[in-house]
């Protein structure tokens, strides 16, 4: 098991380098100059040259990348061109809000999705099954932006149960987390249902019935445990999806976060902030997949035995 974990961990290093090059190249290919956002009426051509030089943007792209990489590896993510503060401070301030939202949404996706999937498979082809699957389909297809505004209208404006916007309290986290989580719950419910039904047709399940075990124990202890494998994989990948979806939800609910910071920086071509945000989000996806791999190996001895 430890060999497996070590191999997967070492693989993260070249992945990080490839991601950093791709992200760096992409953001510099997009038209737009951040220095134009800094110039004010009265600025001269000399001012523009001076600012360009001050931010190191006069150097060639490979040199800019190497300078950025050297600083990044020592924990210095550079200075925001527009906000004029260290990017690492901005990331450290915004990251907890995004992680809170992401984790809360992931828990909602997991709990609700698995619950719906189990119920749906246990009452296969009944009214309950159809309701669960319609709910799941809505979760996957309804745009998060629209859903967020509707939930805000009902629960914040009409009922007054939650604040419209903001952060820092559990109350202000619930609506955004539910908005993001419902989309994931739909997908997990469908995968859980399919997986449960597939497992319930296996011969070893028939044996368990023959042994006299109750349906509840067979479903929850045997079928569910084996059906969980594809769900674990999806959960790891969902982390990236959730963090990406958090961008629009942070705007709708006016929450600080990496997504909000990224969108604002993109509009103004604030390269250091865009770079740091994209790398954070991308690495979150990769680490999510990494954790999913580890959990999969832990749950399934056949996977970890392959590395012995």
């Amino acid at each position: 098991m430890w060999t497996y974990i070590l191999r997967r961990t070492l693989l993260l290093i070249p992945i990080f380098f490839i991601i950093s090059v791709v992200v760096f190249s992409l953001i510099h290919m997009v038209p737009g100059d951040p220095i134009d956002s800094l110039l004010r009426p009265g600025s001269t051509a000399a001012d523009k040259v001076e600012l360009t030089k001050a931010y190191g943007l006069d150097k060639s792209l490979p040199v800019q990348y190497l300078v950025w990489l050297k600083k990044f590896l020592t924990g210095d993510m550079g200075q925001s061109i527009i906000e004029k503060q260290p990017v690492v401070d901005m990331v450290l301030y915004n990251m907890p809000f995004t992680i809170n939202l992401g984790l809360a949404a992931l828990v909602i996706s997991f709990v609700l999705g698995i619950f719906l999937g189990i119920i749906s498979s246990a009452f296969k082809n009944t009214f309950i099954d159809h309701i669960c699957m319609i709910f799941a389909l809505l979760g996957v297809t309804v745009p998060a932006f629209w859903l967020g505004l509707i939930l805000m209208l009902i629960f914040s404006v009409m009922l007054g149960w939650f604040p419209v916007s903001g952060s820092g309290t559990l109350q202000s986290l619930i609506l955004p987390a539910v908005t993001v989580g419902l989309g994931g719950a739909g997908l997990i419910a469908r995968i859980t249902r399919v997986s449960m039904l597939e497992m319930s047709n296996k011969q070893f399940i028939l044996l368990l019935y023959a042994k006299g075990l109750s349906k509840q124990i067979i479903t929850l202890k045997h079928i569910f445990r084996n059906a969980l494998m594809p769900v674990i994989t999806i959960l790891g990948l969902r982390l990236g999806w959730i963090l990406g979806g958090a961008v629009t939800i942070e705007i709708v609910f006016s929450r600080p976060g990496i997504g909000n910071m990224l969108l604002s920086a993109l509009y103004r071509r604030d390269y250091p902030v865009v770079q740091a945000s994209l790398i954070f989000l991308t690495m979150a996806v990769i680490i999510g997949a990494f954790i999913a791999d580890i959990m999969y190996a832990y749950a399934d001895p056949r996977v970890r035995d392959a590395y012995k």
Partner: protein, 313 residues
């Protein structure tokens, strides 16, 4: 700036930055905020219906206009630029896009600047009949498809705007207004940062833009010929203009002279029809009735009520 010269009457002021207009409106509606600066135009009617709130309108520093690229085919002709400028119905745009919030702009400066007060003959006002007469005088005739044609060429232009909601809406209205003159207009949208890079390539024809500035030196920023592309989006290059600009910026000995020099510069720019002025917008501040303001808003210096004059019940 405020009537109250003593200590403030409120203990704390919290600023909340909310990007999404719907969220801003709902936050105000539920009492999450007491004051909504620059209330979204689309929700103003709903705010005015609220018996617990009121709207204060104050002149802003923002001017909307349409820039014409003087280096492009057709637009390098001052008469065609004049006809296009005269085809823009400022009042119709004010009503359709801004719900009447603001005032029509007839010059390149906001209303409260002294250099804005040019001779009336330089003001650019909607006059479709004169626009048609100018185009006819230039030899343009409408074809069977309603598009002006001359020597086998159709008068077709690209109209750029940022993907922001107000500028995009203005572009749609102007497209329809220029179609009445007989100009075929195709709208292209860009995000705010990319569009500046595109200006420098010089392939734009017409552009909907806005600025927020309360000094006449904004004319130097937008018409200085040493900065073609951006910020001189009109690509304007003219010796007389440069002379008037330098005089206004550097040679005035006192404020009266400065105003006169900028007025002269402004009048010259207006006579060249480099922009079609559209509107001067207002700042609409939505305020809950529990916030009392003791003084009338000072239009000359401020764009919002002073916090020093506020109390909260």
């Amino acid at each position: 700036m405020a009537d109250n010269q003593g200590p403030a009457k409120v203990d704390k002021v919290i600023f909340k930055e909310i990007l999404e207009d719907s969220t801003r409106f709902l936050e105000f509606k539920t009492g999450g905020v007491d004051i909504l600066e620059n209330a979204p135009t689309v929700f103003l009617d709903k705010i005015k219906e609220d018996s617990n709130a009121r709207v204060i309108s104050m002149a802003s520093n923002t001017n909307f206009h349409m820039v014409m690229n003087t280096k492009r085919e057709f637009l390098n002709n001052v008469n065609i630029r004049k006809a296009i400028a005269l085809s823009v119905d400022q009042n119709a745009i004010l009503k359709a896009v801004f719900q009447g919030n603001g005032s029509p702009a007839y010059t390149y400066l906001i209303d409260r600047l002294p250099a804005r007060n040019v001779d009336r003959k330089y003001e650019i006002r909607f006059d479709p009949e004169q626009a048609k007469a100018i185009m006819a005088g230039e030899g343009w005739k409408k074809g069977s498809d309603g598009i002006l044609t001359k020597d086998g060429k159709k008068l077709a232009l690209a109209l750029w705007s940022k993907s922001d909601s107000d500028e995009r809406k203005v572009a749609v209205v102007i497209q329809a207004q220029l179609a009445k003159l007989g100009i075929e207009v195709k709208i292209e949208q860009f995000d705010p940062s990319s569009i500046k890079a595109e200006y420098k390539k010089g392939r734009h024809d017409l552009v909907i833009r806005s600025y927020g500035w309360d000094n006449a030196d904004i004319l130097e920023w937008f018409f200085n010929s040493t900065r073609p592309g951006y910020p001189t989006v009109s690509m304007w290059h003219d010796n007389e203009s440069d002379y008037l600009m330098h005089r206004a910026m550097t040679r005035a000995k006192n404020s009266e002279e400065r105003i006169q020099y900028f007025k002269d510069y402004h009048e010259y720019l207006l006579s060249q029809y480099l922009w079609a002025p559209i509107i001067n917008s207002v700042n609409n501040h939505a305020i809950r009735n529990n916030v009392k303001i003791s003084s009338a808003p000072r239009f000359k210096y401020l764009i919002g009520p002073s916090v020093m004059d506020m109390t909260v019940e």
